[in-house]
Symmetry: C2
């Protein structure tokens, strides 16, 4: 299992070759995912990254500004995994299943780094910041919408070749799979539900919508 997201492969304290900006982002990424954006201070990020507070504010206007870059790195990680699983998948139904495979692999990678079930950083950040930092929450949410749209494309392909049960709306099906993913990952984070149960549930929602 490779690191997910990519930034986590870099231990900032060991990488003196990294620029100040990268050290800040990768340190913040670890801290935000381990705890939450709200529970991490700029001081902690600076201490972890080995940079002075003045340098931090040279690159970023606020902690929330770093959070946007972290969200972009998480999205890039998901897109990379999706590209690779979809390329290996034959036919639209298997391309739909790639989303569940990506959840399985990314959660395994996160569990390796943090030694517990982490949940989806995009879902967690968007939920925690929905009221107090809606613009940053929206940035995370927009990344999930792009994932939904990609999945909906495969659902429309499956419908076109007659693989979905009659009357199934492909956009709605994509929404159900994404909702199952969010809802089950939330459960896995709190109640330690194993990730294979999450991915099996996503596939079950799909199976129930296939032509029988």
């Amino acid at each position: 299992v490779a690191h997910f997201p990519a930034g986590l492969s870099l231990d900032p304290s060991l990488r003196v070759d990294l620029g100040t900006q990268e050290r800040i982002v990768y340190t913040a990424e670890r801290l935000f995912i381990a705890r939450s954006v709200q529970h991490v201070s700029v001081n902690e990020i600076c201490a972890g990254a080995g940079v002075l507070k003045g340098s931090f504010y040279h690159w970023f206007s606020a902690k929330e500004d770093v959070a946007r870059t972290v969200i972009d790195d998480v999205e890039a990680g998901y897109v990379g995994l999706l590209d690779s699983y979809e390329r290996a998948a034959r036919g639209p139904v298997n391309k739909i299943r790639a989303t569940a495979e990506v959840i399985g692999e990314s959660q395994a990678a996160l569990a390796k780094t943090f030694r517990r079930i982490i949940g989806c950083p995009l879902g967690t950040i968007s939920s925690e910041l929905a009221v107090v930092e809606p613009a940053v929450a929206g940035h995370a949410s927009a990344a999930m919408t792009r994932w939904h749209d990609r999945l909906a494309g495969h659902c429309r392909d499956a419908e076109e070749v007659g693989l979905l049960a009659p009357g199934t709306d492909p956009d709605e099906l994509a929404g159900l799979i994404m909702a199952t993913m969010r809802g089950m990952i939330l459960l896995s984070r709190i109640d330690k539900l194993p990730i294979p149960v999450v991915t099996a549930s996503m596939n079950r929602v799909l199976d129930n919508a296939l032509r029988r």
Copy 2:
């Protein structure tokens, strides 16, 4: 639409007849649901309730202690609505649908109080506190597990009388409906997805699992 949860029907500042403990709980309930547990201080709760800090600590050891009581009040609100919708429902499939109806009614009540989509207080509190206050998060999560178990009972009843598609696991079906609820409500909170879309999705997951 009645108030949900019940505590929100009481504006603590107008109810001098309430005891100190109740004023603290109902004030905290409003503040926690409007923002989050972490964004509300004991000072704010005391100011809103019109009680001194010494009185607060006479009744509660910490803010998290009040959060448990708030969670209990939210659960009692859900149970009351479920009782009433299930009583009116004929047959196990309609009793399963009661869960979606409860979401519709409770979210409408919350939107009336707070003038925006609030999401499920149990899900929001359990998510925000999962890492930083796992015991309180677990208290909220246990309430959702009791809801799941109640729903699973109706799913087993539906299976017994042959209403589910062959091979459908009734416990898994209850899990899918609960996951859809959590996942879609999260979306509704962040992306302003209308609540009828949430309840329609929950019913679609059920419909796809019924014998055709």
